[in-house]
Symmetry: C2
Subunit: 201 residues, 2 copies
């Protein structure tokens, strides 16, 4: 394991997604694997940590995820903006029919997770391994998938002790997709202050 | 209406949330109203646009939302970081028992929506008025609420023609909560490029 990759305690795993980054969803089943971009993902619970993510019916990742019952949310960074755009704009199903997959097609390195069969993408800044929660109505009606996070890791250069700290690491800032390959990188930190109530001294 | 506030076409409404900002959820019912912060919200569909948001069982906003069948997602900005923190860290139910609400307690100005009874908070940079989709299992099991967006507006200084453009408006950047009143502001824009496939010329 690279020196900077660290396990994240499960009770802090929600903080990897709390600020709303675009994620890359990976899944694997019976020797096949895929990865896709998803801007529509969020935490759903603290402990045990849960997540929600929207996956269109047309996607190969969704088929692998439903078959395997697990998936990984990889959190990509500025360094990976072209990879993220390409993974969001290509069809794993078409590639699989041609006997290849997105990982080989784009020359992407992966590593094995701690709890899921799905591959984890090298170069991301966080990884959440998830067990699918069976909710067929949400799958069919809303393309909405819920999962329980069973293992989490992050790049300690930018996430440690439950906080992101991107200063000095602009290439490791998380990506936030707007539309059509246009992204915003996450910016500077600031702290909110509790305001006094009107009428209170 | 202030000169900078503009309606957003419904087919572009998802772009107001696509980059994962923290939102302020407002609801009103029979003369009572409340507003709370929620980091766990996301788009759920393009057209008709839908959203998902997580609301704890203890919240007064949730009670008003369930009673009225509608809610508003207000998107706050850096200028409002103290308001956002305060709205996320105070109880509307306690205030209502004391005969006040968060709007009066914090001196917050609101304006009427186009489609919902819930108040829209002045100073935010986007507003999505939503009709609650009745999904009792998601409400009870996951504190998860789905809504259809029936009207949307944005501050045209930072959102127009389906894109955010925050350059020169640092105080209007969206907020992305990490934990405990610690936020990240959204940063600079960048565009992803489609990579060639390995082996292709």
């Amino acid at each position: 394991m690279p020196a900077f990759r660290r396990s994240v305690p499960l009770d802090k795993a929600y903080r990897l997604l709390n600020h709303g980054p675009t994620v890359l969803v990976s899944a694997a089943h019976e020797g096949q694997r895929n990865i896709m971009a998803a801007a529509w993902g969020m935490p759903l619970d603290f402990q045990p940590p849960k997540v929600a993510v929207v996956l269109d019916k047309s996607t190969w990742t969704r088929q692998l995820l439903e078959a395997s019952g697990s998936f990984v949310l990889n959190v990509p960074c500025v360094e990976q903006v072209d990879i993220t755009q390409s993974l969001g704009n290509s069809s794993g199903l078409e590639m699989s029919r041609a006997g290849r997959d997105k990982f080989s097609a784009y020359g992407l390195a992966t590593f094995a997770g701690q709890a899921c069969a799905a591959p984890l993408l090298e170069g991301c800044v966080a990884w959440l391994e998830c067990r699918l929660l069976p909710e067929p109505h949400n799958h069919q009606q809303y393309d909405l998938f819920l999962g329980e996070v069973i293992a989490a890791q992050a790049d300690s250069r930018v996430f440690s002790e439950g906080r992101w700290h991107f200063d000095g690491h602009d290439r490791l800032r998380t990506l936030h997709h707007v539309a059509g390959g246009h992204f915003l990188a996450i910016g500077d930190s600031l702290d909110g202050r509790q305001l006094p109530l009107a009428g209170d001294v």
